[in-house]
């Protein structure tokens, strides 16, 4: 078997005195949708931030495409092919939708390719096309989330990191967003690492899942197995 696209080996992260991630091992293969589940404060976002270089790791390794990236600064990681759609959406509020998407393609020079992806994103999220000249800060929560995902896609990463795309969004839009995630994964063969609290929605579209609790791996497995697992159902699915 070929080496995985992303591999975390015994990762530790500290926030000051707090040991937020305590020896996490995780593998993402090319073409997969992998989800990280867990409750508030379990370390999901911390894991994503350490992959994209936004926070320093204490020890352990992060391998991407066979190269170590755990000491690489955030802005260089994007050029390696990892893009993150941050939690809480974090679009550029005073730039238009169109300008936000342009910022996503900041590192790319091939105008034609960028235009093609832009059209692809507009076809995937027609709402954004309707509002392309509107300031991103004036969009609804769901639309901002779409924009954040589209913006991350615009850097054409090999690995797309999505941090809680369903957070604070109307259920009908959650479905649209998750459909779009699957669509990106299937048609563009883009690998996706999805962090979610909405465990049921995430497991439905994911190939595999990891469940973390207080910074440690609690359970891992195929999404179909996790969804039927009794413990998971009790703790995260509310059955």
């Amino acid at each position: 078997m070929s080496s995985p696209l992303l591999e975390l080996k015994n990762l530790h992260v500290h926030y000051g005195a707090i040991h937020a991630i305590q020896g996490l091992n995780l593998v993402v293969n090319e073409g997969e949708i992998v989800t990280i589940l867990g409750s508030n404060g379990a370390g999901k976002t911390t894991t994503l931030h350490s992959i994209s270089g936004l926070i320093p790791t204490s020890s352990g390794e992060i391998l991407f495409d066979g190269k170590r990236i755990d000491k690489t600064p955030a802005f260089k990681i994007v050029s390696h092919g990892i893009a993150q759609s941050p939690e809480g959406r974090m679009v550029f509020p005073d730039l238009t939708v169109f300008e936000n998407l342009e910022m996503g393609a900041y590192l790319r020079n091939n105008k034609e390719e960028v235009d093609k992806d832009l059209h692809y994103m507009f076809s995937l999220f027609p709402r954004l096309l309707e509002r392309k000249k509107q300031l991103a800060g004036t969009l609804s929560g769901g639309e901002q989330q779409m924009l954040a995902i589209a913006r991350a896609y615009m850097s054409k990463p090999k690995l797309l990191l999505l941090d809680e795309p369903s957070l604070g969004i109307a259920p009908i839009l959650v479905k649209a967003i998750f459909d779009a995630i699957v669509e990106i994964n299937k048609t563009k063969n883009m690998t996706i690492l999805l962090v979610e609290q909405n465990a049921f929605a995430a497991l439905k579209i994911a190939d595999r899942g990891y469940v973390i609790a207080t910074g440690e791996m609690f359970m891992e497995g195929k999404a179909d197995d996790l969804i039927t697992n009794e413990e998971i159902q009790k703790a995260y699915l509310g059955h």
Partner: protein, 297 residues
């Protein structure tokens, strides 16, 4: 008339100062309170060139040009020295650090005998005139507006909008923050040099922290992030306190109070400043009447 042209000259210098501070505070979103310090660096080095080094055979405008260049470069250098350690800080912490550095610069000048120290720096040649001041105003605005229109500008703006998001777009935020800071400092130094050769006298107390605040006021009044706003803010705040002098004795006596009240009223009614983040653009202004709009995609 002389009084009026002096005011006009001052407002030109303050336009350069406010537009350059706007690049740091309004456009890049890095809260700096050290602008008077960079202004002082440019003023004193430009003046020192005029007093000690300038060769007499060169025409005045060439000397002024060299002096402005020296002012720009030394202030930009000070910008690097201050920016590189300080720009790792954010928000209030950065404001305090830059404030401290601005004061340090002033104290250093205060203790330098070659530039007059606490006695002030005298006999600076009179080289500035309205034409050259406004030529530099135009150059400053053109340079900064042009940077903003390009990719670098987008990167700088995105840092103001959301630094983490900018980072995760692949933008080397530290580089662009430093770039905006150094460029802003450089133009402040250039304004300093023009100022020195207009007033012919410099005193360290003319560059206190209060002046950083006044320049900050100009850009907030005009609208943080808007170049046109900074220009309007600078013109209003140079002329307003002076114009109030001529409005009868009572108003003249109370002019600083009226000035303060006007500022408070404006902030209450329009907290984003006169222009907000918008630019006044002749073309889009005309487009409102012709109804033409350009399509982006």
């Amino acid at each position: 008339m002389e009084y009026f042209s002096h005011l006009l000259l001052n407002s030109g210098i303050f336009i350069i100062l406010s537009v350059s501070l706007n690049l740091i505070n309004g456009i890049c979103g890095q809260f700096s309170l050290g602008h008077a310090g960079f202004w002082a660096v440019g003023a004193y080095t430009g003046a020192a060139y005029g007093v000690y080094l300038a060769p007499d055979f060169l025409p005045d405008f060439v000397n002024l040009f060299i002096s402005c260049g020296i002012g720009f470069l030394t202030a930009a250098l000070a910008g690097v020295l201050i920016g590189v350690p300080c720009l790792r800080l954010r928000g209030d912490y950065l404001a305090i650090a830059t404030l401290g550095f601005g004061e340090i610069i002033r104290i250093i000048i205060m203790n330098m005998d070659t530039v007059g120290g606490p006695r002030g720096f005298t006999n600076i040649p009179l080289w500035s005139n309205l034409f050259w001041v406004y030529a530099w105003v135009a150059i400053t605005i053109l340079v900064i507006a042009n940077i903003l229109r390009g990719t670098h500008g987008r990167a700088i703006i995105s840092i103001r909008e959301d630094e983490i998001a900018a980072d995760s777009m692949g933008i080397y935020t530290f580089k662009y923050k430093t770039m905006a800071f150094v460029l802003g400092a450089g133009f402040a130094g250039l304004a300093g040099s023009l100022f020195a050769h207009a007033n012919q006298f410099l005193h360290p107390n003319g560059f206190t922290f209060m002046w950083s605040v006044i320049i900050l006021l100009m850009i907030i009044l005009g609208g943080l992030g808007s170049i046109t706003g900074s220009i309007v803010g600078a013109v209003i705040l140079t002329f307003l306190p002076e114009m109030l002098r001529f409005m009868g004795e009572t108003i003249s006596e109370w002019r600083m109070v009226i000035y303060a009240v006007l500022l408070i009223l404006l902030m209450l009614m329009k907290p984003t400043g006169i222009f907000g983040k918008h630019e006044f653009n002749v073309l889009s202004f005309l487009a409102k009447f012709t109804g033409k709009k350009k399509e982006i995609i």
